[in-house]
């Protein structure tokens, strides 16, 4: 199972191309961190991945199927994309029902179990009968992440998952990412929060003005840093200082 973009390009009608000539393969078990300036095409990329947008040029193959000819509903079992604002998707009256919506729609064999497991993974099990809007904003964000986890899709894509999360929720998120990563799930994460994701990502993709400016292993971070500076993205202080005290740029 894999996601492959073959020189895919996309432009919104009547405006300059948002993405140009993107060739990229995300193999199973990958953890791809997508970075770039605002407007570099990151969210368009996410929408291309689940077939919401169709590429104008090139093609995107998800599990071997072309997104142009496959309906979104049959791509959702492979790639689950979660957007930034919890308010855009929460509609059920309990946390449990909200999380169960995904697995049910995707006809998973045991939605209740998927749902319970996802809630436990994100430490929300004690809220399962609460109303989503009785949760703190940070937990509501985790709830949307739990919805994606419960859907059972092998590829999970998140848009800025750490925004609005404070320390305890970040710990929960990172433990979830580690555990599911070990279990073979793949992640595609769009984020500005390099401090959080650089230590766990396997590969980094840097978008600049709709093109791939850097795509490589996290060990190539030095090369990334040079390109990123040109693209207007800076590594967090805590990383840039490390070489000065004799540490490698990235912790292992």
């Amino acid at each position: 199972m894999s996601i492959a973009l073959q020189s895919a390009g996309f432009s919104y009608p009547g405006s300059a191309p948002a993405l140009r000539d993107i060739s990229l393969e995300v193999p199973s078990g990958d953890f791809l961190l997508v970075t770039g300036h605002n407007g570099a095409g990151k969210s368009s990329l996410l929408r291309l991945l689940n077939g919401m947008l169709k590429p104008n040029t090139g093609c995107i193959l998800i599990d071997g199927r072309d997104t142009k000819t496959t309906p979104v509903s049959s791509l959702a079992p492979v790639v689950s994309v979660t957007f930034q604002h919890p308010g855009d998707q929460i509609f059920a009256s309990t946390v449990f029902d909200e999380v169960r919506f995904g697995p049910r729609q995707l006809h998973r064999p045991d939605p209740d179990r998927d749902c319970r497991e996802a809630l436990v993974l994100l430490g929300l099990e004690s809220f399962s009968s609460s109303h989503p809007y009785d949760l703190s904003p940070a937990n509501r964000k985790l709830l949307t992440i739990a919805s994606a986890v419960a859907s059972g899709s092998p590829y999970l894509a998140f848009d800025e998952p750490t925004v609005n999360l404070s320390q305890p929720e970040r710990v929960k998120l990172s433990s979830m990412l580690h555990r599911l990563g070990d279990a073979g799930r793949s992640f595609i994460i769009v984020s500005h929060d390099l401090e959080f994701f650089l230590p766990i990502a396997k590969r980094i993709l840097l978008l600049h003005a709709g093109r791939i400016s850097f795509l490589g292993d996290r060990r190539d971070i030095q090369r990334y840093e040079n390109l990123a500076r040109k693209a207007g993205v800076r590594l967090p202080h805590s990383f840039r200082l490390r070489p000065h005290v004799g540490l490698p740029l990235l912790p292992d």
């Binding site: 929408r47 994309v81 979660t82 855009d88 998707q89 509609f91």
Partner: protein, 247 residues
């Protein structure tokens, strides 16, 4: 000549009343007059290009629609003498007359309202409403609504994508689409309720209280009733009596 808001409102009222009572040829004459006035009088010119474009589209659409409806009425409403017969289709006078009357009325109403709202910024109208004593809540609601309407399409679009990505059957057969309606409307309403409560807090914290504490010293309204306003108001009454005047 610079028309002020009360004058324009009185003029629109006059035109609306006329559209209801006047015979078709008078309505059409007034429409033509309005179209000329829209170019000639600075106070009636559209505020910007999009408004001008919208005026042309709406009016063009209406004109086309009116012609088609007149024709259909002529065919289907079999009253009065037959005017025209061709290949088994007969046009009846009663239907045509009915179509022309309705069409000209709609044209006049639409052009009057479009010219009013195309040439007057909304804040001008709401300021006037507030000055003549419309409660501040209503004025504020109008402003907030305009603000929300502008942000609504992108919000709906975001919710639509988020739910489709979770597998909501937005393109399935109609019964499940019916269910999907909940999955779109519910987040929209829930998040708006939360937002309303937060906005309500902010409003109250800034001194808004529903028990009106009206600022009495708003810019005094110099003279709401100019000669022109009164003329238009009198004309409206005359228009109301038009059927009786024409016998």
């Amino acid at each position: 000549m610079q028309l002020r808001v009360p004058e324009k409102l009185a003029m629109t009222l006059c035109l609306l009343v006329t559209s209801l009572t006047a015979p078709p040829h008078l309505s059409l004459a007034l429409v033509t007059l309005m179209l000329i006035a829209r170019r000639a009088i600075p106070g009636l010119r559209p505020m910007d290009n999009p408004t001008a474009r919208r005026f042309r589209t709406v009016l063009g659409f209406l004109l086309g629609g009116a012609i088609i409806m007149t024709f259909l009425n002529g065919v289907l409403i079999r009253e009065g003498p037959i005017l025209f017969q061709w290949a088994g289709i007969s046009l009846y006078d009663g239907g045509i007359e009915f179509g022309v009357r309705t069409g000209s009325r709609l044209l006049l109403m639409t052009s009057a309202l479009l010219i009013l709202f195309g040439s007057t910024p909304l804040s001008g109208i709401t300021t006037f409403l507030h000055q003549i004593g419309v409660p501040i809540q209503i004025v504020m609601t109008i402003h907030l609504t305009v603000h929300f309407v502008a942000s609504m399409p992108s919000r709906i679009e975001r919710i639509y994508s988020a739910q489709e990505a979770r597998g909501a059957p937005l393109r399935a057969h109609s019964l499940s689409r019916m269910f999907s309606l909940m999955s779109i409307l519910s987040p929209l309403i829930l998040s708006s309720i939360v937002e309303s409560i937060e906005r309500g807090k902010a409003l109250e914290l800034r001194g808004y209280s529903s028990a009106p504490r009206r600022a009495d010293d708003t810019v005094p309204f110099s003279s709401p009733y100019s000669i022109l306003t009164i003329c238009f108001l009198l004309l409206s009454i005359a228009a109301l009596l038009l059927p009786w005047l024409l016998g």
